[in-house]
Symmetry: C2
Subunit: 359 residues, 2 copies
């Protein structure tokens, strides 16, 4: 466990169970197409394709809709690469849940009846009135049909997500400005704040808002409310949940707190050291403000000895997290995998994807 | 276990595992709209709605698209009622997989990218060329992402399914005429045979066909090939599978045999005594011809003391099986539930659905 940092007291035995399943939620918010907001795609418009391509690659081993692995404008590959390598080692059931992906992924996936692509919150409502409540209830139902005897690692892929997470947390009364993370080493905090301010003004949101669903319909997105619904159902079903992600997961917890959902010592957050140690965001502070009882695990991965330049950028503050990668790494660490073995798996996967073997 | 009949030698410990999950495949074939073929709906056209309504009710406790429980023309309720009562006792994860339902169910469900409603085989191809191969591979992929550490009970809902099952088994070289089951006490064997003969003539099928996928595209349906693909992937992933259904599951096994898939002692069939003891069909003989190594379990349920007339019809040869009900009952029997306790659960559920309490 030498590469795991633990903040808070994890519930005993959480990871030891062999009944873990990975659930990856995907959605799009057109907020990601505002130039400068997201680097989770080679261009602002291309960020709309990233969620489907991420999970196609994660499940089938290659993107299907287009034959390209999602990359940043600099060509740095999606964290789904880490997720897939980790998943191979963990060997656990995986479920993809589409709550509003711009592209329908060409793999078997769970489809939410009320799935919707989120609007660009600076200029339009995120969701039609009432949709966030439906997404919450449908996700809660999904969890209640799955939770019998299973515990969950919950990841996500939605470019633009830290901006809508900022919007959700601020709208619900938490101070989140300049604290959310970014896949870019130059976090565009000023732009995110301007987008959120425009969203609040446009839709007459005055923090702290008490009506969670109205707030999400106006200035949120389809993803965070769905994950919150899933957690609600999974907790009712007796499951434990590891939220596998960064500051976006704080928005999920903010929703649950506003709804009065009792977390009952069965929720943790797992992410990467890249994210927790990032000087441009404040994961620990946000989590402490919103849900101080929730332990935070961080996997201190590094790719300093990577044979591939693309991965070395992770050490320089690019990408940091996504598609459940950080949480999956923390589970591997808890289960006793060495950092070296996990690195080798990631390098091997990268080599396979790029069409040549890691040296 | 007094209400369980076992034919063959079940693999030891199959049901004892607490890692079971239920997977219900749904699809439509327009073959069900041929008057007289199917009673799995109040009218021939309404049979197209039955799969979605069945799983909406199974998962959410009530049908959502229309507020009606699927019934036969006589008003006898869907076997999903038994499945839901059984599922509550078993308390296991459940997944709905839509491979071509006429209606998209308004609950969270797994969606197969190549999902297609099947054509009416007497007058049109079942599937566009190549679709059955895609459905097989997509279902295999789904199983491979789920099978890690899970075993499966696999059920289905597709009206018209015994007719396309007959078509598949005959096309692949098995003698299945006058041997498939029916939800009606007056099995319309002659009509089914005429439909299949027209289908073979129309599409130039000459048994025994060697090309499974071509055969399914022309005279099959989206359901059986998908379940076969799921089994193939689940077996590769090390899972055990209980096929929860009647003579349709023999068509699934016929597909797997034609594809040379090794069942490896990890597949069983679980159904009801109503079906196995039916004088108008030949479940045991079909299974013995196609896959004699596969054990058959039958739950000897009866509703003779039911306070509800609708259920008493089950004892008179109506419905018999469907939506995984028989297999779920066999699992309850193996796990030691008494017939009386299970009956009480079914009566309680029937009373709840009908809006009054069982006496």
């Amino acid at each position: 466990m030498g590469w795991l940092r633990v903040h808070g007291s994890p519930s005993p035995g959480f990871h030891a169970g062999d009944r873990l399943a990975l659930v990856v939620f995907i959605a799009s918010t057109r907020t990601s197409t505002i130039p400068g907001i997201s680097v989770a795609g080679p261009s602002p418009e291309a960020t709309l394709y990233t969620p489907a391509l991420d999970v196609e690659y994660l499940v089938a081993g290659r993107p299907i809709t287009f034959n390209v692995i999602p990359v940043t404008p600099e060509g740095i590959p999606t964290p789904a690469l880490i997720s897939r390598a980790a998943l191979k080692l963990l060997n656990i059931p995986t479920l993809i849940v589409d709550v509003g992906s711009f592209l329908e992924p060409k793999i078997p996936h769970t489809r939410m009846p009320s799935r919707s692509v989120g609007g660009s919150i600076d200029s339009e409502d995120a969701l039609a009135e009432g949709v966030s409540k439906k997404l919450f209830e449908e996700s809660r139902l999904l969890a209640s049909t799955l939770s019998k005897g299973l515990d969950f690692i919950v990841g996500e892929s939605m470019p633009g997500g830290t901006t809508t997470a900022l919007s959700i947390m601020e709208a619900l009364g938490y101070k989140a400005r300049f604290r959310v993370s970014s896949a870019s080493p130059s976090n565009p905090h000023d732009l995110k704040v301007r987008v959120v301010e425009r969203a609040f003004k446009r839709s007459n949101i005055n923090p702290p808002e008490r009506d969670v669903f109205k707030t999400i319909d106006r200035v949120g997105d389809p993803l965070h409310i769905s994950i919150a619904g899933f957690l609600s159902g999974a907790l009712e079903g007796g499951s434990k949940i590891l939220l596998a992600g960064g500051t976006q997961m704080c928005a999920v917890l903010a929703i649950l707190k506003s709804l009065g959902v009792e977390l009952g010592g069965r929720v943790m957050v797992g992410t990467t050291g890249w994210l927790v140690n990032d000087s441009q965001s404040d994961m620990r502070g946000l989590l402490n403000d919103i849900a101080p009882e929730v332990p935070l695990l961080a996997a201190e991965m590094d790719f300093s000895d990577s044979p591939f330049e693309g991965l070395k950028y992770y050490d320089k503050g690019y990408v940091k997290e996504g598609v459940g990668s950080g949480g999956l790494l923390t589970v591997l660490a808890v289960k006793g995998w060495s950092k070296g073995d996990v690195k080798r798996a990631v390098y091997g996967e990268y080599g396979r994807v790029m069409g040549y073997e890691a040296r």
